[in-house]
């Protein structure tokens, strides 16, 4: 029996059990099926995922560093992703059946496990003030410190960022990724954002010529520029 063909009901029961919410019936079902290797493997994965999500995974249980990676991936995970999951909203809203809750938990557990393996989440550099405050004002080079060896946030997270796609706010914009987001420093700027964008697009094209030649990455930097306003 493969894990994928594992009885859905069983998976829900298992998930419920891992949260100490299994009924007697579910427990009996699990015990009966627990001879199977697939179920055991799944059970252990649920346990690891659950512990890691709660941050109480004992290190001796995961000497491989699994916990570290998982924690790193989860550390700055945006909560809205979880909040929007049906399981959570269902739990706090009208009393949906246990069946539904269990399903939700399976989905969360599965996505967490998958998250460790592949993909990268891309974050918007929304608050660069944080970066500014980190910079010292001095001219001197910062002391060379021991580098942080943890993997970056987003490495190993789900491939698609939790983007808000809302029809109310502008709708679908195919060129959005090509736009420069400009934030004036003074409120009295008399130049339109469009003009600034066009200007910066010209500059970034020139800059990319330089980056392609001088960054050891070949032509890859051109993927960043639109090349549309070419003479």
């Amino acid at each position: 029996m493969t894990e994928q063909s594992l009885d859905t009901q069983l998976a829900e029961s298992l998930s419920a059990l891992s949260d100490n919410e299994a009924s007697e019936l579910e427990l009996a079902r699990i015990l009966k099926a627990s001879e199977g290797d697939a179920l055991r493997a799944k059970w252990s994965r649920y346990q690891v995922a659950r512990s890691a999500m709660r941050g109480d995974l004992p290190t001796e249980l995961a000497p491989s560093g699994f916990a570290d990676r998982l924690s790193a991936a989860l550390a700055d995970e945006q909560t809205p992703q979880v909040d929007s999951a049906p399981a959570t909203s269902g739990a706090q809203g009208s009393g949906l059946s246990r069946w539904w809750l269990g399903l939700g938990r399976v989905a969360v557990a599965a996505s967490v496990t998958g998250a460790v393996v592949i993909g990268a989440q891309l974050y918007q550099a929304d608050d660069s003030d944080a970066g500014m405050s980190n910079m010292t004002a001095g001219n001197e080079q910062k002391t060379i410190s021991a580098p942080d060896n943890s993997l970056p946030i987003g490495y190993g997270a789900p491939a698609l960022p939790a983007q808000q796609v809302s029809a109310a706010v502008g709708g679908y914009q195919p060129q959005r990724s090509r736009q420069v987001v400009f934030e004036p420093r003074r409120a009295d700027v008399k130049v339109s954002n469009e003009q600034i964008r066009a200007y910066l697009n010209q500059l970034v094209e020139e800059h990319t010529d330089h980056a392609a030649v001088n960054s050891a990455q070949g032509m890859l930097p051109y993927a960043r520029v639109p090349l549309i306003e070419e003479e």
């Binding site: 974050y123 970066g131 094209e205 392609a212 030649v213 960054s215």
Partner: protein
């Protein structure tokens, strides 16, 4: 070095095993444990620093590959192979706003390196670059550590970034060594490179900002190597073509000056070397800097009157900072553009002045 070795070793143990485990659980009813673990161990030992006694038989690897290659070797190889091999492939580019895909062709014909990037999304367009192979760019020289002349600002790449091999992953159906590049200061971004173990080509790049967030990703989804020059006949002509002469940009004919001739930077982030200046868009001065991996440009645009734009802008991994500057009665729009932290771009924009005032400031 033991720190790096240890970290590398732990992750090496981790990633492939974790992957193999999940795959076994989810796909094969009766996992063939012998085969899987052998594969994984072979993949591990070839990279592991603690295993360099005794050759490990493995296909597609150089004889020395069972020892951990020095970072410089790996980078140099990556940089060199990228230029000398004939290959074509498709890659995706992903940033905070979405994903686009591109076709890349690279071939060398009679001492000239040709590259063609064909946009698969949006309006049909292409970027074409030519480069004389004998003419080494500044980045190549920085990576190879062959820059004795620029003693002032140049420091070895090892002093700017910490490098560690983080394991093995599969990209575009090929085995790749994951190299993590962590900046040692706040002046540049970090990288995760996945380098093809067979060819040394870069299969995947993640760019990591100062807050440890991935801001963009390049990833090949398909790559063909070992092609003949005849395989690169262009079948699709794009209506918009952006031509780049790399020799002209890098100015390889003449040795690069250590500093711009007309402008002085009162502050330059450590490790960035001046890689030339150009005049673009009629009268705009452009100053170029690189540390071997990261680049930024400074533009000085003479403007009518006193109207300058001040502010910051961002697109994907690229940060912009705009500010005004007046020199000898002429107002300039200063814009710093680069894949560097915004705070660095801002500080650069504020630190630029004319050459005369250079001597007045300590350190220059």
């Amino acid at each position: 070095m033991s720190h790096r070795r240890f970290a590398g070793f732990v992750l090496l143990l981790l990633s492939p095993l974790g992957l193999a485990q999940v795959q076994n659980e989810s796909t094969s009813p009766e996992p063939p444990p012998a085969v899987t673990s052998n594969d994984t161990e072979a993949a591990l030992s070839s990279e592991s620093p603690d295993q360099d006694s005794g050759p490990v038989p493995e296909a597609g690897l150089d004889a020395s590959a069972h020892q951990l290659p020095s970072v410089r070797e790996l980078l140099e190889r990556m940089s060199e192979r990228q230029q000398s091999l004939n290959y074509k492939g498709t890659f995706t580019y992903q940033n905070n706003a979405g994903t686009e895909s591109f076709q890349l062709q690279h071939w060398v014909d009679e001492g000239t390196e040709h590259q063609r990037l064909y946009y698969l999304n949006g309006p049909e367009r292409e970027a074409v670059m030519r480069h004389t192979t004998q003419c080494q760019t500044l980045a190549e020289r920085l990576i190879a550590g062959k820059l004795g002349g620029l003693a002032d600002n140049f420091t070895s790449l090892d002093r700017l970034y910490s490098f560690s091999v983080r394991g093995v992953e599969r990209v575009a159906g090929r085995l790749a060594t994951v190299l993590q590049v962590v900046p040692r200061d706040a002046f540049r971004f970090g990288y995760l490179f996945s380098v093809d173990r067979e060819t040394g080509l870069l299969l995947k790049t993640l760019l990591v900002d100062e807050n440890q967030r991935v801001v963009e990703q390049f990833q090949f989804i398909d790559l063909q190597t070992g092609l003949a020059v005849e395989d690169f006949a262009s079948d699709r002509e794009a209506s918009i073509t952006h031509n780049v002469d790399a020799d002209q940009v890098s100015g390889c004919e003449q040795p690069v000056a250590a500093a711009p001739s007309e402008w002085a930077l009162h502050w330059l982030p450590a490790g960035f070397a001046f890689s030339g200046q150009r005049v673009v868009h009629t009268d705009m001065h452009m100053l170029m800097y690189t540390d071997g991996l990261s680049t930024f440009s400074i533009f000085l645009d003479p403007v009518e009157g006193k109207l300058v734009i001040e502010g910051r802008a961002q697109r994907g991994a690229t940060n912009f900072y705009m500010q005004g500057l007046t020199r000898e009665g002429q107002t300039y729009q200063v814009t710093v553009v680069g894949e560097i932290p915004l705070a660095v771009a801002e500080k650069m924009a504020q630190s630029i002045g004319s050459v005369e005032s250079k001597s007045a400031l300590p350190g220059g």
